[in-house]
Amino acid sequence: MWFDIKLAWRNIFRNKRRTFIAGTAIGVGLAAMIFTDALMIGMKDNMIRSATKSFLGEGQIHREGFRLTQEVEKTINNLDGIISRLEKEEVVERFSLRAVTFGMITSPSNVSSIMFYGVQPSSERHLSQIDDVMKEGDYFKGEQEREMIIGSDLAEILEVGIGDRTVITVSQAETGDLVQEMFRVSGIYQFKVKEMDTGMAFVRLPKAQDMLGIGSDVHEIAIKFEDIHFATKEDNPFWSRYSIDGNEAVSWATLLPQLKAILGIFWISLLVMGIILFGIVAFGIVNNLFMSLYERMFEFGVIRAIGTRPSGVRRLILLEAGALSILSIILGIILGFLITLIFVNTGIDYRGIEIAGTSIHELLYPVIHIQQYIIYPIAVFAFTLLIGLYPAIVASKMSISGALRKSL
């Protein structure tokens, strides 16, 4: 076997240029797979972060049915118990309480329907990104209870600016009575996401609770976890632990099914790309091995004539395929690592692009995983051997006398 390996290794260097070209093609294919995988993971993380960090949170707790009806009465049950348990959860980095209802906002010029949020500025600052995308004014800087933050598109519709007055109309819990309160616009944000920039208004939580008549209750607890991937699994026991007492805890994947679907398509595109790249690799290997085979027909005739069995010829061709594959894998790993490393340091600027209702706010950084350097090289090696079977079988079945005639 060792002799065959030595022979195969020397054979692939007989035509250095051809081996270099074939090896580079396979190596570039592998590097592309490694980089694409790193990019996909980076993009997935980026999109989840963009979707969850902007305002949603990585998970939320509501009263059962609230997400569907948004009824003001459906506040979270046993709020104090949940808060005290969340504070003890090691996986939870922070959480924030919110009051949420449909409402109407009116300015001297116009009127618009909105989602009216009562938030805790101190905790919300670390959980959502509204404070990071302030276009004008401040994010709840003072202590004024009538401060209100709205989106840039809504400000345009209402024709209001910083310091201008608006009136919010909501209906109260239990009675359904309409309540109106005047607020001053203290800040205007711009997410570049239409739904957020036109359809939301934020006030301090106590004021919203007062208007809605829900006492100290809330409709929503937004949660941020220590590890972003923790919330990705919908079957995580965390959700069932908090889906008790008539409440429900759900991950961002449930709250944003369209984003989850898009991420699913990512892996399909990676698979399609993999199939295309592996197809190119396959043609490269088959072409290389057949060229090498036809060039050495007489030689194969000689080794068959002197007693090499067909299985010996097959083994030799497969070893040559394996040797070519190892060279290509080394090249591909180095190339893939260097390309990925460059973009890990510089990032790729997709900021401002909106995908599945999620606007990307951060530079996209590919993520290097050790699996990329194990799974894909093994796949390339196994695939090379599989593809190499074809020329190996052809070589082992050729007529010896025919092969010996080739260069006579």
Binding site: F3, L7, R10, N11, F13, R14, F298, E299, V302, I303, R304, A305, I306, G307, T308, R309, P310, G312, S399, I400, S401, L404, S407, L408
Partner: protein, 233 residues
């Protein structure tokens, strides 16, 4: 060493037809021949007379269209592909025209190739390689690669490869075709000497007069049939 009288090759009405661009070529048209152990014989004839085809058929490199062939008492048509490979490995040594060595293997590796196939241990292989290189006058050239030695030296290595495992039969297809007269003559003398020393049977396919002059028996083929079978006294 003289002929032992043991039959190495026996052929009975061997025919070989093949198609070439829809035309049936009758390369061998019924040959009955017996080659005995220790013979130094040559199959001669003009190009297209069927010399190489006959050698291919009797060595199991090709199958006859008709007829029977016995090699060392074994009928080839009754053997599987694997058995034929093993038969060639253990009982036949092949010498082709020049440039039939594996260029990426050293002289030593080329010679030990057949022994590797036979599973001979490394020490034994090395010992035999050194011994045979001395016999063919190439001692000290073990680590050279074929492209770095002359055509005559390459053919010496091919002879060494064919003989190193001490097969019963050496088949040499135009072994002097690409060599100059002096080198060719020198190699033929060497093979003649080895034939006498070891008793191995040599069967040449050639139209080289030097081979005919040295052979004990000259079988002349014409249109795929034996035209003459001359034995030297």
């Amino acid at each position: 060493m003289e002929n032992s009288g043991k039959e190495i090759i026996v052929t009975e009405n061997v025919k070989k037809y093949y198609k070439e661009e829809d035309i049936v070529v009758k390369a061998v048209r019924g040959i009955d021949l017996t080659i005995e152990s220790g013979e130094f014989a040559a199959v001669v004839g003009p190009s297209g007379s069927g010399k190489t085809t006959f050698l291919n058929v009797i060595s199991g490199l090709d199958t006859p269209t008709e007829g029977k062939i016995w090699l060392s008492g074994k009928m080839l048509s009754e053997m599987s592909g694997k058995e034929l490979s093993d038969l060639r490995r253990d009982r036949i040594g092949f010498i082709f025209q020049a440039y039939n060595l594996i260029p990426v293997l050293t002289v030593e590796e080329n010679i030990e190739y057949v022994m590797l196939l036979q599973g001979v241990p490394k020490e034994k292989r090395h010992e035999k390689v050194v011994q045979i290189l001395e016999e063919i006058g190439m001692k000290g050239m073990e680590k050279r690669f074929p492209p770095k030695i002359s055509g005559g030296q390459q053919q010496r290595v091919a002879i060494a490869r064919a003989m190193v495992s001490q097969p019963e039969l050496i088949l040499a297809d135009e072994p002097t075709a690409n060599l100059d007269q002096a080198t060719g003559g020198e190699l033929l003398d060497m093979m003649r000497g080895l034939n006498r020393k070891t008793g191995m049977t040599f069967l040449f396919s050639t139209h080289d007069r030097m081979v005919m002059e040295r052979a004990d028996r000259v079988i002349t083929l014409k249109d795929g049939k034996i035209d003459k079978d001359d034995r030297k006294a």
